[in-house]
Point group: C2
């Protein structure tokens, strides 16, 4: 019933993620059911959109009763591919890399960081929660040995294209890029971005161009 084969839009996938966060918070609070209105509120959308998003995959709700929190959580996890574990490499063990490594939500969601590499010889050999940091010169070997499926790129912008090419060369098909640089990769590789600086600069632009009472040139 939830064959992950139909094409759904990227924005639907992102909303499903948001619904799942709500559902898991409700689950922890031992709430049994949730309405599409409530999911809509948390997901920043409308109840009609929630029903439409969920109807793509089957019928999870009962009219007037809402959705079962544990059932819907499980189904969305399945849809998103979170009912299995993904083997993730962290490329770059700097500040951002360290914060990511410790981000508890990654592991909870089935993303296991099985390899860490860095160019800094002082870090190489250290153990992070059981994972030994390896030198970036061994990147390809590390990725192969650890059977990595997803690479998180937390390296400087000037290095990231080359790193991406090396990662892709050993068959990794999914990259999460933290550098503020667009990557050129083969068509069968998926790249998503997390770009804190760009988001902050977009805020700056919006504030500059805001009609405000106290605006001064």
């Amino acid at each position: 019933m939830t064959e992950p084969s139909r094409k759904v839009s990227e924005s639907t996938v992102r909303r499903l993620s948001l619904y799942l966060w709500v559902l898991e918070e409700l689950g922890e609070a031992e709430v049994a059911t949730v309405s599409s209105e409530e999911l809509a509120h948390q997901g920043g959308t409308t109840a009609a959109q929630v029903r439409k998003d969920l109807s793509i995959f089957g019928s999870f709700g009962k009219r007037g009763l809402g959705y079962s929190v544990p059932l819907l959580s499980r189904e969305i996890r399945k849809i998103l591919g979170l009912s299995r574990t993904w083997r993730v490499a962290l490329v770059g063990a700097g500040r951002i890399g360290a914060a990511l490594f410790e981000y508890p939500n990654f592991r909870d969601r089935g993303f296991e960081i099985v390899a860490v590499v860095d160019t800094d010889a002082r870090k190489v050999g250290r153990l992070w929660d059981g994972v030994r940091i390896r030198h970036a010169s061994e990147l390809e070997d590390v990725l192969r040995e650890s059977e990595v499926e997803i690479a998180i790129l937390a390296v400087p912008g000037r290095a990231v294209q080359e790193v991406a090419e090396r990662v892709v060369s050993v068959g990794v098909k999914a990259l999460l890029n933290f550098a503020p640089v667009q990557l050129r990769v083969p068509e069968d590789v998926v790249v998503n971005h997390v770009n804190m600086a760009v988001e902050l600069e977009a805020l700056s632009y919006a504030l500059m161009n805001h009609p405000r009472e106290d605006s001064s040139a």
Copy 2:
């Protein structure tokens, strides 16, 4: 010539950010000029798009000679509102908050973290690079005293809506939200998101639905 008054699309603003990152890397390497092709390559777009993006604001380039790196950097900084300093509060001094605080690029770009608050009594009173961590119960006072213009919300999802409302209540008009929750805010408040978990889950979905040779159900 670069009055920040025209409406430009969000995607243009984001591309300007990316061009600026490239320009600053080139500037550090003491490169004097750059072609629209080179900017396009780094910004993941076409040379025609680069010329179009930059033409909105004036004419920065000379046909055949390319753009002056220092001049174009300065103009884009002006456009994005980065030629001034923004006063930023960090709400939430957990792992993500700490990584953000130390992220060198924020300060370089004119985002100065002038206030940090947290609910953890053990953290309150500590100095982070000269900024004393204050208790979240004093949030409104802290924001007012420090004349905060932008708030970074690095708090758990279940808390973020309430925190956002408190922040907005004292007149802050720009939020950068790290929690995987859509915020409800008044229309004149701008919210941008950085959602690492959602990006990773979108990768998971893409991998699940990828046509791969080695796919197994």
